[in-house]
C-alpha cells in the first residue's frame, strides 16, 4: 500500500523545525518509518511561492508533498494520511487505534487540542498585558486538566494515549499533544510557570517524559533553550513585553 517514490523524487515535507504542527507531521512519518526530506520554509519576510502553491487554502506549514506533486495539508490530516498510506505488512506501528470509539476519541481530543489548548498556550508568552497572560495561563491549566482526565480514560493503564493492552507505541493523540511539549517547556521556562506538575497533572507529567524519550520525538524536538530563544524573538517581533 506504500506509495512508491519515483526515482529521485521522494516524499517531502514543507515545514519549520520550530513549528509544533510540523513536529506533529514529522512524528507521524517517523512512527510509520517513512523516509522524507524536510524542506524548511522561511515564513518571514514572506511565504514562498512554493508554499502558497502547495497550500492555497491556508498558505501555512506543514504540507506533505507526494511524488507526482499532490499535497496533503493540515497536520492532523497528514498524520491520518501517513497512517493510511504507509500501513500494511512490515509497516511501523499504527497511529490511529483499531477500535472505532478510540479512533473517535483520538480525533475529538486532537481537535480540542488545536481549538482550545494550543491557542491558550500560545497566548501566554505572546500576551500583551499581565492580565491577558494570567487569563491565558488559567485557560491553559483548565485545558490540561481535561487532557489529564482524557489520558486516564484513554491510556487504560498504558504508557500512552494509544491505550494499554501491550501498546507501547504513541498514537495520534500522543503526537497531537506531544508536538506542543517543547513550546510548553519553553513557556514554563520563560514565564517561571509550572504547567505540568505532580499535583494537577501527574499522569501527563509522567507521559511527557516518556513521549520525549521515544525515537520519533527525539528525532524532531528542538532543545528547550532554542524554543525559548525563538519565543523571545517572536515577543520582540510582536512588540510584547519580554518575560522576566
Amino acid at each position: 500500500m506504500a506509495a512508491a517514490a519515483e526515482e529521485g523524487e521522494g516524499v517531502r515535507l514543507l515545514g519549520g523545525r520550530m513549528s509544533p504542527f510540523t513536529m506533529r507531521a514529522r512524528m507521524a512519518l517517523a512512527l510509520r518509518g517513512v523516509e522524507y526530506e524536510l524542506v524548511e520554509e522561511a515564513l518571514h519576510p514572506r511565504k514562498s511561492g512554493r508554499l502558497l502553491a502547495a497550500n492555497p487554502a491556508y498558505g501555512r506549514i506543514p504540507v506533505l508533498l507526494l511524488p507526482g506533486g499532490r499535497a496533503v495539508c493540515e497536520s492532523a490530516v497528514i498524520a491520518q494520511y501517513v497512517d493510511d498510506a504507509w500501513g500494511g505488512a512490515g509497516a511501523g506501528a499504527a497511529i490511529l487505534p483499531v477500535d472505532p470509539y478510540e479512533r473517535a476519541m483520538h480525533r475529538f481530543w486532537t481537535a480540542y487540542i488545536d481549538d482550545k489548548f494550543w491557542p491558550a498556550l500560545d497566548a501566554i508568552s505572546l500576551a500583551p498585558t499581565p492580565e491577558a497572560r494570567a487569563t491565558a495561563t488559567a485557560s491553559t491549566r483548565a485545558a490540561l486538566k481535561l487532557l489529564e482526565e482524557a489520558f486516564a480514560a484513554r491510556s487504560n493503564g498504558g504508557a500512552f494515549f494509544s491505550g494499554g493492552g501491550g501498546a507501547a507505541s504513541p498514537g495520534l493523540l500522543d503526537v497531537a499533544l506531544g508536538c506542543f511539549l517543547p513550546a510548553l517547556w519553553a513557556c514554563e521556562s520563560l514565564n517561571g510557570l509550572r504547567l505540568l506538575d505532580d499535583d494537577a497533572t501527574p499522569l501527563l507529567r509522567a507521559w511527557s517524559a516518556r513521549l520525549a524519550a521515544t525515537p520519533a520525538a527525539m528525532a524532531v524536538m528542538p532543545e528547550t533553550e532554542e524554543v525559548v530563544a525563538f519565543t523571545r524573538f517572536l515577543q520582540t517581533k510582536f512588540g510584547v513585553a519580554g518575560s522576566k
Partner: protein, 250 residues
C-alpha cells in the same frame, strides 16, 4: 428509521440534536444513508437537558450520538465513527488514502472558514471534476458536510431579498445542490422550507431589534457573515447576520 423510545432497555443508537441545526442534520442524514436505526431526542438549546450536559461536558453542544451508552460529539467526528463502526454499509469516506485526506481537509476548511450555513460556491465549482457529487456517483462525507447547510441559501435569499449565489454564475453548484436535495434520505432529513423560513425570519427580527436597541455598534459586532465572506457574488446590500446565528450550534 426513527422509533419511539420505549421504557425498556437503552436503544443502541440515540441522537441528541436540534431540528434547525445543520450539524444535527449531518448526523441524521448519515444515519439514514447507512440505514441505521436510531432514537432521536430534540434538545431545547435555550434550556439544555442534564443528559446533554453530562454526555458532552467539554462543548455542551448538539449533536451528540450515544452508541451502546458511550457518547460521541462533533459532527464530522461522528460521521467518521459511523464509517469505522459500520464499514460494510455505504461508506461515507472514499477508500483511497489521498482521497480520504482531501475529504478530511475540505471538511475542516468548510467548518473552519465557511461556517455551516453555506460553503463557498467556488469550492464546489472547482472540486466537482465532472462527478455528480464529491463522493462520486453517491453522496459522501463532504457532500453531507457541505450540503447540510446549503439549503439555508434559498431560505436566506428569500428572507433578505438578496441573491447570494447566482445560478447562472455557479451552474455546477446549483446542479449539485439540486441532486443532493433530491436524495430520499436528504428529503427525510431537511426541515420543510416553510419551517426554515419562519425560523430565519424570526431570527432576523430578533437580530435587527437587538442592533437597533444597542445602536450601530452592535450590528457591527455581530460580525461578518461567513456567507458574505466566503461567496464570490455581488456584495449584498445588507450583510445577513441571520445565517451565521441560525446555523451555529448555541
Amino acid at each position: 428509521m426513527e422509533k419511539q423510545e420505549n421504557g425498556g432497555e437503552a436503544p443502541e443508537l440515540k441522537l441528541f440534536g436540534s431540528w434547525a441545526s445543520s450539524y444535527t442534520h449531518r448526523v441524521q442524514l448519515a444515519l439514514r444513508l447507512k440505514a441505521l436505526e436510531f432514537v432521536y431526542a430534540e434538545e431545547d438549546l435555550g434550556n439544555k437537558s442534564e443528559a446533554l450536559l453530562r454526555l458532552n461536558p467539554v462543548h455542551k453542544k448538539v449533536p451528540v450520538l450515544v452508541h451502546r451508552g458511550r457518547p460521541l460529539a462533533e459532527s464530522v467526528i461522528i460521521l467518521q465513527y459511523l464509517d469505522d463502526a459500520w464499514p460494510e454499509s455505504r461508506p461515507l469516506l472514499p477508500s483511497d488514502p489521498f482521497d480520504r485526506a482531501l475529504a478530511r481537509f475540505w471538511c475542516h476548511f468548510a467548518d473552519d472558514k465557511l461556517g455551516p450555513a453555506v460553503g463557498a460556491a467556488e469550492l464546489r465549482e472547482g472540486a466537482f471534476k465532472g462527478r455528480r457529487f464529491f463522493g462520486g456517483d453517491q453522496v459522501g462525507l463532504l457532500d453531507v458536510v457541505l450540503g447540510c447547510g446549503s439549503y439555508w441559501l434559498a431560505v436566506f435569499e428569500e428572507v433578505t431579498g438578496v441573491r447570494l449565489v447566482d445560478a447562472d454564475a455557479f451552474p455546477l453548484f446549483h446542479a449539485w445542490l439540486r441532486d443532493f436535495e433530491a436524495q430520499e434520505e436528504v428529503k427525510e432529513t431537511i426541515p420543510s422550507v416553510d419551517r426554515l423560513l419562519e425560523y430565519a425570519r424570526g431570527l432576523r427580527q430578533m437580530l435587527l431589534a437587538l442592533a437597533a436597541g444597542a445602536g450601530a455598534g452592535a450590528a457591527a459586532a455581530a460580525g461578518s457573515s461567513p456567507v458574505t465572506a466566503a461567496v464570490d457574488a455581488p456584495a449584498p446590500a445588507a450583510p445577513p447576520a441571520a445565517p451565521q446565528a441560525a446555523a451555529v450550534d448555541i
